[in-house]
Structure formats: C-alpha cells, structure tokens
C-alpha cells in the first residue's frame, strides 16, 4: 500500500514541477514597447494601429503593421499570417511574440473591437 502512495505522490510531484516550469517558461507578460525591445523573451504588447502602415507582402507572405502606444512610441510589427478580420475597426491590437531583427515578430495578433463590432462567436 505504501509503495503505491509513494508512486502516486512521485507522479504528482514530477508533473507539478514540470507543469510549473512550463508555465513559467511560456508566460507572455504584457510589457511596454521599450521593454519589449530590451528583452528577447516572448511578450505581449498592446497599441493602436497606425493607419496607412499596414501591408501584406505577397513575396515574403508577411503582414506588416505598426502600433502606437499611448505615449506615442511606434513599434513595427511583422506577423507570419494574414491580416486579421476587423483589423481596420480595431480600437486596440495585441501582438504576442518577440522583438528581434529590429522589429517585433508576432506569432499571434488579437484584435480588440469596439462593442459595435463585437461578434457573437462562441
């Protein structure tokens, strides 16, 4: 009986440690543009889209756009994907990724819309 409890506890402990490590490693905190430029970890930034700056490049298949922080800083972002729906109507855009090669390379882009455009996606 003792052996089995020990096995159970070992399993739980191993997975808790493993889970906690993965948890910490893959966390992407919200940071300012300046911090995003400083660190090479994966982070989240939020800003307003700079109009006229977004472009889908058909040769590299990257979507380029720029975000403006409330303080007026500009961050150039590239996203390996297509322009998200409602991009133009967005009040704020969230980009998740890391800053490298002089630009913010996003893995994921989330669009925050004013309530009028709030869809009813489940």
């Amino acid at each position: 009986m003792n052996l089995k409890i020990v096995i159970g506890i070992i399993i739980i402990v191993v997975f808790v440690i493993f889970g906690a490590l993965s948890f910490r490693k893959t966390l992407t905190p919200y940071v300012s543009f300046e911090e995003a430029k400083r660190t090479d970890a994966s982070v989240q930034v939020i800003g307003k889209v700079v109009p006229q700056e977004s472009l889908y490049d058909t040769t590299t298949h990257l979507f380029h756009f720029a975000l403006r922080s409330p303080e007026g800083e500009i961050l150039k972002v590239v996203f390996d994907g297509t322009k998200p729906a409602n991009f133009e109507q967005a009040t704020d855009v969230v980009a998740i990724g890391r800053y490298q090669n002089g630009r913010f390379e996003a893995d994921q882009v989330l669009v925050k819309c004013p309530s009028k455009y709030q869809g009813s996606e489940p």
Partner: protein
C-alpha cells in the same frame, strides 16, 4: 414583456417548489406532492419562455434587442435556430430549458433522496433563472423599434454551429445531476444509492459534452480556415476541463460500485465538475480574459452574480463534504500493481493531472494578476505538458484490458496487439515519423487502438453492452494517431495566384479564375483530374471584414486544405493637399475640399472629402466618407468612380494642413488580381473524426448499459 413574465413565474415556481421539497423532507409525502406540482409549473413556464423566444425569432420581432442583435429577415429559417443560442442570454435559457426537463427524471423516485436531490437541483435552476432575469433575452430595444435586425455572424451560419451549443448545454445541464445526488447523499449520510443515479448521468454528460466539443472542433476546422481544430483557447478549455473530470468521475464511480473504494474522491469529483462549469462560465462570460483570447468577450454585468453564485455553491457543497468527511467510511482495499483496478486508478490520476494543468494554463491571466503583471501561457504550454500524459494514458488504456480485476498478471492475449503495434510503429517510422517523442506517442496510441479493438471484437459477440468502454478507448487511440499525423506532419505552403495563370504546387496545378459572387473559383488539377475549389471570400457588413472559409478536398489518406488569405487588387494609396490633382490610370482626380456636410453624429465625427474626377470631357464629383467614433473605431464609406470601375476610400484626414490620404482600388473587368492562398496537407486527419465517432458510440453503449442497471 410576456417573456419576462414567464421567467418570473418560473422563478417563483422554482423557489416554492424548492421550499416544499426541503420543508417536508421524507416524513411528509404530501408536501412532496405540492413540490412536484410546483416543479411541473417550473417546467411549463420555462418551456413557455423558450417557445416564446423562438416565436419572437420566427416572427422577426426586432423590438427585442436579443432578436435584433442576432437575426434578420434575410436569414435562412434554419439558422434562426442558431440565432436563439448565438448570444449569451439565449444560451443561459437553453441551459435552463434542458435542466428543468432533465430534472423530471430525478423526480418521483419516492425514496428518501428525492426531496434533498430536488432541493439542490432547484437551487441550480434558480441560479440560472436569476442570471436570466439579470440579463434577459426579452429586453426591448430602447427607443423606436428597428425595422431590420443586425443579422447573424456569417461564421455561425453553419450546420455544425446549429447543433454545437445544444449538445454542450445538454451536457452542462446533466452535470448538475451527479452534483445534486452527491449532495443529497452527503445530507442523508448514505453513500451507496447516489452511485446508481450518478453513473448513468455522468456518462450522459460525458457523451453530450464530448460530442459538443468535437463538433465545435470540426466546425473550427471546416469554417475558420486556420487549419486546425483545437487552439487551446479559454472558450474551448472551459468545456474541456469539466469533460476530462467527468470522465475521471465515471471511472471512479465504476470503481466504487465494484469494491466500495474512492468514496470521498467521487463525492469530491461530482462537486468539482459542477463548480468547474460555473468557473468556466465565469471565465468566458465575465470579460476577465478579454485581453487574452481571440474570442470576443464582453462584460455583461453579471460578474457579481457569477462570483457570488460560485462562492455559495462552492462553500456549501465543499463545506458539507468537509463536515461529513470523518463519517464517510471507505473499506480498505489492497491493490496489486498488475491489477485492472490499480491501472484505472492510475489512469484517473493522469487524467486529473492533465485537467489540472489545463485549468492552470487557462487561469494564468487570473493567477498572474495576483502576482502583478497579468500574462497568459502560450499554447506550447498545453502541448508540452499534455504530450507525456497522453503517452502514459495511451499505454494504460492499452494494457488495462489485459489485466484482470483484482488480478496480478497480464493475460497472454496481449501478444497479438503488441505484435500489431510493433508492425504499425515500424510502418510509421518507414513513412517518415522520425522524431522519437512522436514515434513513442504514435506507438502508444496504436497500442491503445489495437488492444481495445481486439477486446471489443471479442466482447461484442458475447455481450455488446459491456463492450462500450473498449470501443471508446479504441476510438481514443485512433484519435490520438490522427492528432499527431495531422498536426506534427502537416505541411503547408503559401501561393500567389495571379488571375488566369496556372501555377504548380506539389503536383497540383492551380488556376485562380476569379470571384463568383461570394466564392472564389480555383481550378485544381491533379494527374489529369480537375475539380473546382470554391472557398468563400466576401465582405460581410455584419463583421465589417472579409469572411473567408477554406475549401477542403476530403480523402482517406489526408485532406487537401485550401484557405484563401488575401485578394490583392490593383490599388494605389496617395496623400493629397487641397487643390492638388493626381492621376490614376486615365483619370484626373482633384481634391476640392472637405465636405460641407461634415458634422458629428451620435458623438461620431463624419468627414467627407470632395473629389473632382475627370476623364476626357466627362466630369463627376464623388465624396468618400470617413466616420470616426469616440472609442477610436473607424468606418469608411467608399465612393464609386466612373460607373463602378474603381472604388475610392478615405483613409485619413488632417484638417489643419488640409491633407487627406486616399486608397483607390481598380475593380474594372481587366484589372489584375492576385489571390494569395495557403495550401496544406493534413495527413490522416480523418482518423481524428473517426476516433471521436467511436468514442461517442462507445459512450452511448455504456450509457445504455448503465441506465439499464440503474432501473
């Protein structure tokens, strides 16, 4: 108005019914008769409210803001069904509707558990009714009733999205039954009878919640066009976590029925599953995750209700368990490591760990909020933590059928599936699975599949009803194989297709032929055989964006997934000063000035730019308009140039320096267009769907068996 009256009457019936159920207890059968009558009234008024909401949708009563928000007269009748549950208010009503009807199966047991079970069950329905009255689908639009509704999100206009919410909420509603029976058992301090009720309903919820989750995944694959079926988004996880725990629960009750062990564990699990539904509802309905999900969450102003409800349900149910915990007697069981019962317990443990890790990940924005900076975990977290668990679960699921109950050795019949697994793993290796972790994963998944299929075939001849579990486990193995092949071994490429030009990709010839109403037409040729791929691609007023759905060429070995990304038209962006003239093709465009009609409307800035367009002797004036709202939202109303040969958009204005920026898009017949699409191969993705179907059939068989037993 009538709708809210029904809801208020339903609430009063529920409250009085609950009161009479608890007042009499078992000593006064006649109070139960009154309580039952009141419960029938609850069923009646809830059904009336539900039917009334359907009636409002089918008669296009747009003065109701819920009807206005999710339907329109041009919506096909069939999708009016999904309008009902497209919004949160409707889903709460659906949940309640299923809940009160399922409650009829709990009533009229004429045993000492009827009253307490029904009392707790009614508390759940009262909670839903309060939510519904706070956020009612029967609210009227303020002011003048609109003539047309806003319509239904085009992404939801799909068969699978019509049936997805009812499946999920039927599962949710049923999960209250094990919860309430467990509470009744705790109250009565008698722990055997609730298992008879708990087990079939746990299986029932696993069946419907599971089916709902799978249907949702299939819809995402078929409609959303990002190529996958599962994104570890909070909305998806919110239903996956209780599902995993209800699966743990049903194994636990099975164990307890056999040897009386795991008594406290099962009571705890039945409570936990229900609390997790409330927690999931809170996560996805409260707006706490608004910055962390691709789904749009709105704060409906029901946060306080949800939190108070969660705390109340948690404190009295867990409190009751705590109070009784010293009195709950569990027989001492000795398990051999090589016994089936030991294997099942370990499997339950692994599954729980997986669910807890997903729960932690989904809650990461809340957990980290207490530590300072709210953050979420990447999807990599879920994959990394669940991959080893899935391997271990695959192994257990494969080996358990060959261990005897209370036994101490492995049956020799395991050799055949082991042999098959080795051959299949070698085959996978030869076909290109070279990564060690995926090879181990596939090996275990194949083992789970072959082993359980083998036992299932042997069992089915003797007694079908006892074979359900093996079929479910075989399906799980099959699904896991498909998950790896279709994700880790999918390949994709982005292609530019200028209109009318043929391009070669992976031995397919692709020709983009143009836009036909709402569909793109792409001629796909493969070894002399041609077919037309017609993915949807159109501008939707509802979402104010482009709606794209992929075209999927289904086949046994793998799907060809063609997802349109962009349609690049000939266009030009320019910045102009007032009085300046620019050329676009053979047009002269002059910026005359800002439109005098510029004014603010409902707090929005409306600005037009007056353009003088001339070609040869023809002259016309067009005014593209830009509307800017308080929240920073923008809406562009394009102007049509030269009988529809080009569209002009006003992108930005600078009133001080009298400058504008415009985008002109050539939409004439001969204009060049380039379609950018993503083509992917999804090897053996059919196994995922086939696996899920087997899981469902297996669960249905088990449900049949357990309801028969309960009688």
């Amino acid at each position: 108005m009538l709708g809210n009256v029904f809801l208020v009457l339903a609430l009063s019936s529920a409250v009085f019914s609950a009161f009479h159920f608890i007042k009499g207890g078992t000593t006064y059968p006649q109070t139960n008769r009154i309580a039952r009558f009141l419960y029938y009234l609850l069923v009646f008024f809830t059904s009336a409210a539900t039917l009334y909401l359907f009636y409002l949708f089918f008669t296009y009563r747009f003065e109701y803001s819920y009807v206005y928000g999710y339907s329109s007269t041009d919506l096909p009748l069939f999708y009016l069904l999904s309008s009902f549950w497209a919004g949160q208010e409707g889903t709460f009503l659906l949940w309640l509707f299923f809940g009160v009807w399922l409650g009829l199966f709990l009533m009229k047991k004429d045993d000492e558990f009827e009253s307490p079970t029904m009392f707790f069950y009614l508390l759940v329905q009262i909670f839903l009714l309060l939510l519904l009255l706070k956020k009612s689908p029967f609210e009227l639009v303020p002011g003048f009733p609109p003539e047309e509704g806003r319509g239904l999100n085009p992404l939801l206009q799909d068969f699978w999205m019509v049936i997805h919410p009812p499946l999920i909420f039927l599962g949710y509603a049923a999960l209250a039954i094990p919860f309430c029976s467990a509470l009744a058992a705790l109250l009565k301090n008698k722990y055997k009878p609730w298992l008879k009720v708990g087990l079939p309903w746990a299986v029932f919820s696993a069946l419907f919640l599971g089916a709902g989750i799978f249907v949702g995944g299939y819809w995402a694959y078929k409609v959303l066009g990002w190529g996958g079926y599962w994104g570890w988004d909070p909305v998806e996880n919110a239903s996956l976590i209780p599902w995993l725990f209800v699966v743990v629960l049903l194994h636990g009750i099975m164990m307890e029925k056999a040897d009386g062990s795991l008594r406290k564990t099962n009571l705890f699990l039945a409570i936990l599953v229900f609390l997790l539904i409330l927690y999931g509802t809170f996560l996805t309905r409260s707006g706490v995750l608004a910055d962390f999900s691709v789904h749009s969450f709105t704060d409906l102003g029901i946060n306080l209700y949800l939190i108070v409800g969660m705390v109340l349900f948690a404190s009295f149910s867990l409190g009751l368990l705590l109070v009784r915990s010293a009195q709950i007697k569990t027989p001492k069981v000795d398990r051999n490591v090589l016994s089936r019962d030991f294997g099942i317990v370990i499997g339950m443990l692994f599954l729980s760990v997986s669910a807890i890790l997903i729960l932690l990940g989904t809650s990461s924005p809340i957990i980290t909020r207490f530590l300072g900076n709210p953050s979420k975990v990447a999807t990599l977290y879920y994959i990394r933590t669940n991959l080893p668990l899935a391997i271990l679960i695959g192994f257990l699921v494969g080996v358990i059928p060959f261990l005897a109950w209370k036994g101490s050795r492995i049956s020799k019949t395991i050799l055949l599936p082991v042999f098959l697994t080795i051959i299949l793993t070698l085959l996978a290796f030869l076909l290109g699975v070279r990564s060690l972790i995926y090879l181990v994963f596939m090996c275990m998944a194949m083992f789970a599949f072959t082993a359980n299929l083998f036992v299932f075939i042997r069992r089915i001849r003797a007694h079908v009803l006892t074979a359900g579990g093996f079929l479910t486990h075989a399906g799980l193995g099959l699904m896991l194989i498909g998950v790896v092949t279709s994700s880790a071994y999918s390949s994709s490429v982005k292609v530019n297709l200028p209109k009318g030009e043929k391009r070669q990709v992976w031995g397919y010839s692709l020709t983009y032929q143009g836009l036909e109403q709402r569909n793109l037409r792409i001629e796909v040729g493969e070894k002399g055989q041609n077919f037309a791929a017609r993915p949807k691609f159109y501008y939707s007023d509802y979402t104010d964006g482009v709606v794209r759905t992929p075209h999927i060429d289904y086949s046994l070995l793998g799907d060809l997934y063609i997802a349109p990304l962009e349609l690049k038209t000939e266009q030009q962006s320019l910045v102009m000063k007032r009085g300046e003239t620019v050329e676009f093709k053979d047009y002269q465009i002059e910026f005359v000035g800002f439109d005098m009609a510029s004014h603010s409307m409902n707090g929005k800035m409306v600005v037009g730019a007056e353009l003088q367009v001339s070609r040869n002797e023809e002259k016309e004036r067009v005014v593209p308009v830009l509307i800017m709202g308080m929240e920073g939202e923008r809406e562009q109303r394009e102007a049509v140039l030269a009988q529809g040969e080009a569209l002009v958009y006003l992108d930005e204005i600078d009133a001080d320096s009298k400058m504008i920026s415009l985008t002109i898009i050539d939409v004439s017949e001969g204009a060049s267009e380039t379609l950018v699409l993503e083509m992917s191969r999804k090897p053996l993705i059919g196994l995922v769907w086939l696996g899920t179907i087997l899981i469902m059939i297996g669960l249905a068989i088990t449900w049949r068996r357990r309801t028969k037993e309960a009688r």
